[in-house]
């Protein structure tokens, strides 16, 4: 049976049926194509006047089979797909994926690679928080902050373009290293970005943080208590804004984080304003981290020694020597590849949005048998129907914006 346009109304009827006796309630269909969702999700809101009585989310409008696709691609190829998962911070997903793969294979990456990946991970945190604060302010009517922040995002695009050649979906990491080593030009770009960023941050801070309208729209809206945050499995800025002191960068240190000095930002408000504040302050911590890391990048090789046959050899080796070429083929040919243990592993990193984990089941071939992603957006969106009742219709966009729902990660 073809999926017809008319089934859209089925859920609306079901939602209305429950409140059939209360005739003054009415039902509003929000999405799936609505500017304030930024993405494709749908809410069926039951309203009493302007007050939301009940919200039923309906997702899956961007479900594209990421996890099924993992079973068809090998550990290096799949990085192109995880890129597209949380598209506000593509490289953070790659780092999480290869973190998990390297844990599965027991590869310890080189110090230089650790630092480069740390810098990239923090740039991606900025990338995400910039767009998120910008657009959630945009939804509340403040267009300027969005344009200011988007300009900074363009600079980060330039940095990732300089490292990998693609500005958006860079597919930069590889098992045991990265695609290309970074150059001095890249380092210089990162430095100049850091120099300029604080001024813009201060400016937007001045525009929003003490802005009467912004505070009225966000303070006390969408409050999530600490117990609920834990019970609903929230992580990342959403949990930290509710007072859960948890950050995988500190609690389960990975990459170069143990060497660097930074604070975990927490507040106890639990509302949209608290989440905004956490994001704003995390940006400053990130820039601090980048400044430290970029001055201390160790020298030495960036990829681990490819002897272990799991790591791709150096590109110049591949082009100039027959051994390198053979080795390259050995790793990437579909009938060769590298051996993996018949084991499963769960490994997580602190992505901008929260704990981004991968549960990989390997069956000794070069493709994952199953790669499950623990998507923070999905888990945070499950909270939404519980915190929205009682709020005004216009608060829906404020809460959606502050939870930072990204459809591709939500639906995968």
């Amino acid at each position: 049976m073809p999926f017809e346009v008319s089934d859209l109304s089925a859920d609306v009827d079901a939602a209305a049926g429950e409140y059939a006796d209360k005739e003054y309630l009415w039902t509003l269909n929000f999405g799936p194509q609505h500017p304030a969702t930024h993405t494709t999700l749908r809410l069926i809101l039951t309203l009493d006047g302007e007050k939301v009585v009940k919200a039923v989310p309906d997702i899956g409008y961007l479900h594209s089979g990421f996890e099924k696709l993992a079973e068809d691609l090998d550990y290096n190829q799949y990085v192109t797909i995880v890129d597209r998962m949380n598209y506000l911070s593509p490289l953070a997903n790659e780092i999480a994926w290869h973190h998990a793969v390297e844990k599965l294979l027991g590869i310890e990456i080189t110090p230089r690679c650790k630092y480069v990946r740390t810098i990239i991970a923090e740039l991606m945190r900025l990338h995400d928080h910039l767009l998120n604060t910008g657009t959630s302010a945009l939804d509340l009517g403040a267009f300027t902050a969005f344009l200011y922040f988007f300009q900074q995002r363009e600079l980060i695009y330039d940095i990732s373009e300089c490292a990998s050649g693609q500005r958006f979906h860079s597919s930069y990491t590889r098992v045991g290293g990265v695609l290309f080593d970074v150059t001095n030009e890249w380092v210089e770009k990162v430095r100049s970005f850091c120099r300029g960023f604080r001024a813009v941050h201060t400016e937007v801070d001045g525009l929003l943080t003490r802005n009467r309208i912004f505070i009225d729209r966000t303070k006390g809206v969408g409050v999530l208590s600490k117990e609920d945050a834990i019970n609903f499995s929230c992580t990342g800025p959403v949990a930290r804004a509710s007072g859960v002191v948890r950050d995988l960068r500190k609690d389960e240190p990975y990459l170069a984080y143990p060497d660097l000095d930074f604070k975990v930002i927490c507040t106890t408000g639990g509302d949209c304003y608290a989440r905004y504040l956490v994001r704003m302050h995390e940006m400053l911590e990130s820039i601090k981290l980048i400044e430290q890391a970029v001055e201390n990048i160790p020298s030495g090789p960036i990829n681990v020694d490819p002897e272990g046959k799991a790591v791709l050899p150096n590109k110049s080796n591949v082009y100039q020597s027959i051994e390198g070429l053979i080795h390259h083929f050995e790793v990437i040919m579909p009938n060769r590849g590298f051996a993996t243990p018949t084991e499963s592993i769960y490994a997580a990193t602190e992505s901008p949005n929260g704990e981004l984990g991968f549960y990989i089941t390997a069956d000794s071939s070069s493709k994952p048998y199953r790669a499950r992603c623990r998507p923070p957006s999905y888990i945070h969106f499950a909270v939404f129907p519980h915190i929205i009742p009682g709020h005004m219709l216009s608060d829906v966009v404020a809460v959606l914006g502050s939870l930072n729902i990204i459809a591709a990660e939500l639906d995968r």
């Binding site: 027991g106 609903f232 948890r246 389960e252 069956d363 499950r372």
Partner: protein, 169 residues
């Protein structure tokens, strides 16, 4: 097998008599294998007595083609103790036909959507779940896409729409 250092080892052996054969580890992942009938009690015990207050993830694996597999579906619960930072993975296995598990929703509200996703993708039903419907796939979809016997490119559902031409629109 090396001795596993984990706070839940003692707890579960006291409460349920789990011996070393139930436990395994891979790097820092500590795993315990539980029968599907007892999984709810074990999770409840882990939450109330063991302090595992966060359910990080629930997922499934279809072991149809997995080497040396004995059961069809593996269901994985990743737990976390937010005060100590300790993690534990609870594994349980269910089989065709009618793979069924008790829902963890009464313990963690976060289990709501995770179980719905496992149901949607693998067709494992969770008894006691308040609202077990498909979540990602359309309601009228009849198959379970992440099962190994469902092809990657589907069975043609993606080509099944009316065509709108220029002249019609």
């Amino acid at each position: 097998m090396t001795e596993i250092q984990h706070s839940a080892v003692l707890l579960l052996s006291e409460q349920f008599g789990f011996d070393a054969s139930a436990w395994s580890r891979n790097r820092d992942n500590v795993r315990v294998r539980v029968d599907s009938e007892r999984v709810f009690e074990v999770l409840k015990c882990l939450k109330t007595l063991g302090g595992f207050d966060m359910l990080v993830d629930i997922t499934g694996v279809d072991e149809l083609e997995y080497p040396n597999a004995t059961d069809r579906f593996r269901v994985v619960y990743c737990l976390l103790n937010t005060s100590t930072g300790e993690r534990l993975i609870v594994l349980t296995y269910v089989n065709d036909p009618q793979p069924t598990l008790p829902s963890a929703y009464p313990l963690w509200k976060g289990a709501d959507w995770m179980e719905r996703e496992v149901f949607d993708m693998f067709g494992i039903t969770f008894t006691g779940h308040p609202d077990l419907r498909r979540i990602l796939m359309p309601e009228e979809f009849t198959e379970y896409p992440l099962r190994k016997d469902y092809p990657l490119r589907g069975r043609g559902e993606r080509h099944n729409f009316p065509v709108i031409t220029r002249a019609e629109s």
